[in-house]
């Protein structure tokens, strides 16, 4: 095979891997949108917050040390112990559940029956709040996240694909972390699907998604379902936060991946879990290939906007996305 095609294939595979990471964030959006009709802009910030909390707990940072130092003139920063990764992850899940309860108790409860746009704005407010809160709690410096995930390129893949090309081709360059992310995403999607199809809570969740009032009338507690779904979204955010954090460090830009997840959602449809995955893959491959082929001609950095423009053009022809429910409008 000519090398050019092999390079394009490599770009494509890396695009698929990037797409998996987008899909991980998009998954959190879909879960909340399905269960409560809320378009949760804060999902990206939740991922950032989860990753920050994980790093902070792991390294034994004292929460709010910056603020405490400023107010009381002390100089504290670390407890002086380090937690094993698995304990820190369990504790972080606890924190995310707590956060879900707080969000339900102080925000969502008061916004039942508001228009979707108001709820959307509320989550933007929440995103701002969480961003400031996370920074105050754990400090705003860039942190490295290490929970023992493999790093670097996979030598095995490289060795076993080198024979495909000619002299100058050394095999596909694929990050081990990306492969782990793909496996994790697959496990996550399968377990979420099983959960929502076969467990009692899952059935209640789908009932709420279908019709709030009907679900209430057969005795499903709306508030419990909301806490549940925000907890799950928090868990998905944690997984996304770990993957992204291990890849590029825990920093503010992590919360911007939420914006990247939006075109993914538009492609896949807001209400479909498989749609989030497929949309993520399409966007990932599309933007990497576009940058590879057209990018050099127009000055590069096309990844900033390609996903949005693709989604925009796509929506003009199919407004509900690939897998979304058909939009029926009545007067």
């Amino acid at each position: 095979m000519p090398d050019q095609i092999l390079y394009a294939m490599e770009v494509m595979i890396n695009g698929l891997m990037a797409g998996v990471l987008y899909a991980l964030v998009a998954l959190g959006f879909v879960l909340i949108f399905k269960a409560s009709g809320i378009f949760n802009y804060a999902q990206g910030v939740l991922a950032l917050f989860a990753a920050l909390t994980l790093v902070g707990l792991q390294q034994g940072q004292i929460p709010f040390s910056h603020l405490i130092n400023a107010v009381f003139g002390t100089d504290v920063h670390h407890f002086g112990w380090e937690l094993p990764a698995i304990v820190a992850i369990v504790l972080t899940i606890g924190v995310m559940v707590l956060l879900a309860i707080v969000i339900e108790r102080f925000i969502l409860k008061y916004l039942v029956n508001q228009e979707p746009i108001i709820l959307f704005m509320a989550t933007i407010g929440l995103a701002y709040f969480m961003e400031g809160f996370g920074d105050i709690m754990w400090g705003s410096d860039i942190k490295t996240l290490d929970v023992g995930l493999p790093q670097g390129a996979s030598a095995w893949v490289e060795d076993n694909t080198a024979w495909l090309g000619g002299e100058g081709f050394y095999g596909f360059f694929i990050d081990k972390l990306d492969m782990v992310a793909a496996v994790v995403a697959a496990v996550l999607v399968i377990s979420l699907t099983l959960f929502s199809q076969y467990s009692k809570q899952g059935r209640a969740l789908r009932a709420v998604a279908d019709d709030h009032q009907a679900a209430l009338s057969v005795g499903i507690s709306l508030r419990f379902i909301w806490v549940l779904v925000w907890s799950i979204a928090g868990f998905v955010a944690l997984v996304a936060g770990i993957m992204w954090g291990a890849k590029s460090g825990v920093q503010f830009s992590l919360s911007l991946i939420a914006l990247k997840a939006l075109p993914v959602l538009m492609l896949g449809g807001f209400t479909s879990i498989p749609g989030a995955i497929v949309g993520g893959l399409i966007i990932g491959v599309g933007e990497k290939l576009f940058e590879f082929t057209i990018g050099p001609m127009v000055g590069g950095a096309t990844e900033n906007w390609f996903a949005y423009v693709l989604a925009l053009l796509f929506l003009v022809f199919r407004p509900q996305g690939l897998f979304g429910e058909k939009i029926i409008e009545r007067v």
Binding site: L126, G132, F270, W305, L312
Partner: protein, 358 residues
């Protein structure tokens, strides 16, 4: 007692349909104008102009623009920053291409160009609605910022990639460039804001505004009773982008003087203007002004309090500010989803009945 319609006799149709039917409101309006045009320019100093007044005036223009699109026509846009960038770069290109023409025309021309771009990005709104449209406008935001970063023609091949405003005068007084005095900056922005608010207020009272509101309330129903959605949506995009473009042009030429597109017109700006109209009140000109004033003053106030008053580090104060802004937005949405404008309306209703509330 003094705030009521009784005793204020209307003798013509023009009287009957005026903007402020209550005498007290009219007088208040004239007093505000007199203070804004007559008193503030005499007393304003550099600090107040550059940190409070000029940003307020410019954001108020942008907020009125976005409010027309989102508040009156119901099309949520997250592309305000991108459209402001179009205004800024159009103004820059016009300023450098036609240096002899008055800057006022450059700013208006920048508005027109932005209106054209706005209509272009508004076309999908005929197919896409709600959230989908909000995300689609992100395409405008990111694509436009990228375009101004990557195509050197837009910044006249300058080495830094920045655009700079040269000195321009209006009636012999410099309004852009380093020699501008505070009052001149303030006045030119005020004149534009006054014109924009006046046009917007009267547009929204007339046929165009009513067709926008019909589309906002329910587009299919509006179509059935004979409102042309194509015309209504695209005029909303055009008028809104025109105002936003003017705001961007002023932001660049009068306020900042030198602009780097990603920094000045990033996605944060889109959200900031959106917050202004939410906190101020969707579908209200007064709300746009109130929201802009609130969100311009709040950071200044917090910074003075936390950094100046309590002696905290600036980054800590910035984080606290983020938390407070976020919490305020949530609180506003819970307590008063219709914003400051609604509080104002309720206050006026109360005042009309005062002192006998029954």
């Amino acid at each position: 007692m003094f705030y009521r319609e009784a005793g204020d006799f209307k003798t013509s149709y023009a009287d009957d349909s005026q903007t402020f039917p209550i005498k007290f409101d009219r007088w208040r309006y004239y007093v505000v104008l007199a203070v804004a045009f007559g008193v503030i320019p005499l007393v304003v100093n550099d600090y107040w102009a550059s940190s409070v007044l000029v940003p307020f005036l410019i954001y108020a223009i942008a907020a009125i623009g976005l409010n027309i699109l989102t508040g009156y026509c119901g099309q949520v846009s997250l592309g305000t920053g991108g459209f402001m960038a179009v205004g800024a770069y159009a103004c820059y290109k016009l300023m450098t291409a036609f240096p002899d023409i008055n800057i006022v025309f450059h700013v208006l021309g920048a508005g027109l160009i932005t209106a054209g771009v706005g209509v272009l990005f508004g076309l999908p709104s005929l197919r896409i609605k709600g959230f989908y449209l909000a995300v689609a406008t992100l395409a405008a935001q990111f694509f436009l910022v990228w375009l101004f970063n990557k195509v050197p023609w837009f910044y006249n091949y300058s080495a830094s990639g920045q655009i700079n405003a040269a000195e321009r005068t209006v009636l012999g007084v410099p309004v852009t460039g380093p020699n501008t005095e505070a009052w001149a900056q303030y006045m030119i922005c005020l004149v534009f804001l006054f014109a924009v608010a006046w046009v917007a207020r009267n547009l929204t009272r007339g046929t165009v505004g009513r067709s926008w509101m019909a589309i906002r309330d329910m587009d299919i129903a509006a179509e059935i009773i004979g409102v042309n959605p194509l015309k209504a949506k695209l005029t909303a995009f055009a008028v809104s982008s025109f105002f936003v473009g003017i705001a961007g042009a002023l932001f660049f030429s009068v306020y900042l003087g030198a602009v780097e597109v990603g920094e000045a017109f990033g996605i944060q700006k889109s959200f900031l203007v959106l917050f202004m109209i939410i906190i101020g009140g969707l579908g209200s000109i007064f709300g746009s002004l109130a929201g802009a004033a609130f969100l311009v003053l709040l950071p200044v106030f917090l910074k003075n309090l936390l950094v100046g008053g309590l002696g905290w580090a600036t980054d800590l104060a910035a984080h606290v500010e983020l938390m407070i802004v976020g919490a305020l937005i949530v609180v506003f949405l819970i307590v008063e989803p219709h914003g400051l404008a609604q509080l104002w309306r309720v206050g006026k209703e109360k005042l009309r009945l005062w002192p006998f509330p029954h």
